[in-house]
Amino acid sequence: MRNYVIIGTGPAGIAAAQAIRAQDSRANIVLVGDEPFGYYSRPGLAYYLTGEIPENGLFPYTPAEFNQLGLRLIQSQVTAIHPAEHYLENQAGKRLPYDRLLIAVGAQAAQMKISGIELEGVVTLDNLGDARQILKLGRGARSAVVVGGGITALELVEGLQSRGVKVHYFLRGDRYWSNVLDETESRIVEERLKSEGVRIHYHTELAQIQGKRGRVSAVVTQNGERLDCRLLAVAIGIRPRTALASAAGLKVERGILVDEYLQTSAADIYAAGDVAQVRDPRSGLWVLDSLWGPAREQGHHAGLNMAGVPTPYIKAVPFNVTRLAGLTTTIIGTVGRGQDADLLGIARGDSETWRQLPDAIAAQSDFEVNRLRLMVGQRHLLGAILIGDQTLSQPLYHLVSQNADITPIRDRLLDTRLKLGDLVAAFWAEWSSNHATS
């Protein structure tokens, strides 16, 4: 009987366990992790913060369903991996042997290096425990400061604002998420936040956090402005949790490097999800994603490979749906480039691929809050972003991911007098009838 150990209880870990169980009904499968709440929807924490869903709604599976999978769950922090001897060690010094190991420990929020960061009232949003703490602190706070960028920063801004806390959002530059969104898109998001009462402070950087009796009392900006607050939320990006793998001698860059079978540089050890750095076949680069769908896919593929069913993982065009200032937004392929001063690297719900844009021309159209932007390459669409109306999101995903030849409509896509949405819809109708799509 083969012994499988999975470190991490997120979507990659669960998908791997399900895939292994489907292949091997007798396997011994152990999930070990330091997350006290088990498996829940991490992206759902945004809606838990706004009050759209209660905490118990975040859990997709009941304990009985886990039992049916025949998994053993151990809540414990793994402190070391011994690849040559094939065992793990936990904080109590206990050994856990494995035949196949999956590292799916995810990522954690990057922290600022600034005095006062250790004060009570400084929060990040990694897990349910953090969300509980934010809600608790928010109940006693009249105002809060949020620093950072990407999706998590907005989740914090909107969550706190919807709980009646006056939110001050600090941006280092002159607009929100500048390396993924274009200026119009940033402004759409910012204007909607402002209309909800959020105060955005542009060109503003945190210089100091002040405290009283161990709790945050105010922040001071680099411009010398002082703002009273009881809550400071930081969302400046995430870091894959690579420490265990590094200490075990596995090859690590920004994440744990894996091959197309999601195997690490060590025999019988695999990695999947936010912690894995995976080859992107389009660019040839090894990249990070922090997306629910790819984590699930990677976990599933890793599980199959671990169970002896060789199944290469071909990274798909990154695709995510999120809600920015109340607007459903889909991001497909590559849509931006460069650095964002508010983020140290990748954030949650983010992909490094989104900002690897080669030469392309943007074609866009707007109607009230609905916006469609296409990145038009020489013969293909390289990426797309849809804010508001989502009618074309599936067609555009297929056109981008399947490298549809857009030569017949390229000139018209770039003709600003024509309606972009209509052109894409008509092209899709013809293209899809000529191509089998899944």
Partner: protein, 88 residues
């Protein structure tokens, strides 16, 4: 919500009741559970969404709560033939 919106919503609901089923796009789903939480009949819509299966339950009223509440546009109504048992 003004009267017009209410009428329109009601009309949509009646139309859906007669001829539709809720169909998910699982690639958009993050299992947040808002759909299941708001289902008045406690159908586990999230399970259907995650597994990419239409909500083909005789209990589904196609009331549209899950479609309307989903923050990521996972769910949509799809027309089905009235006499084919939802197999279209």
């Amino acid at each position: 919500m003004n009267l017009n919106q209410i009428f329109r919503q009601d009309a949509t609901r009646r139309q859906a009741l007669a001829s539709g089923q809720v169909v998910p796009d699982s690639s958009r789903c993050v299992q947040c559970g808002i759909c299941s939480y708001h289902c008045p009949l406690e159908i586990d819509v999230r399970r259907h969404a995650w597994e990419g299966r239409p909500v083909h339950s005789s209990h589904c009223l196609t009331c549209g709560e899950c479609v309307r509440r989903c923050p990521r546009g996972v769910l949509r109504f799809e027309k089905i033939g009235l006499f084919d048992g939802g197999q279209s």
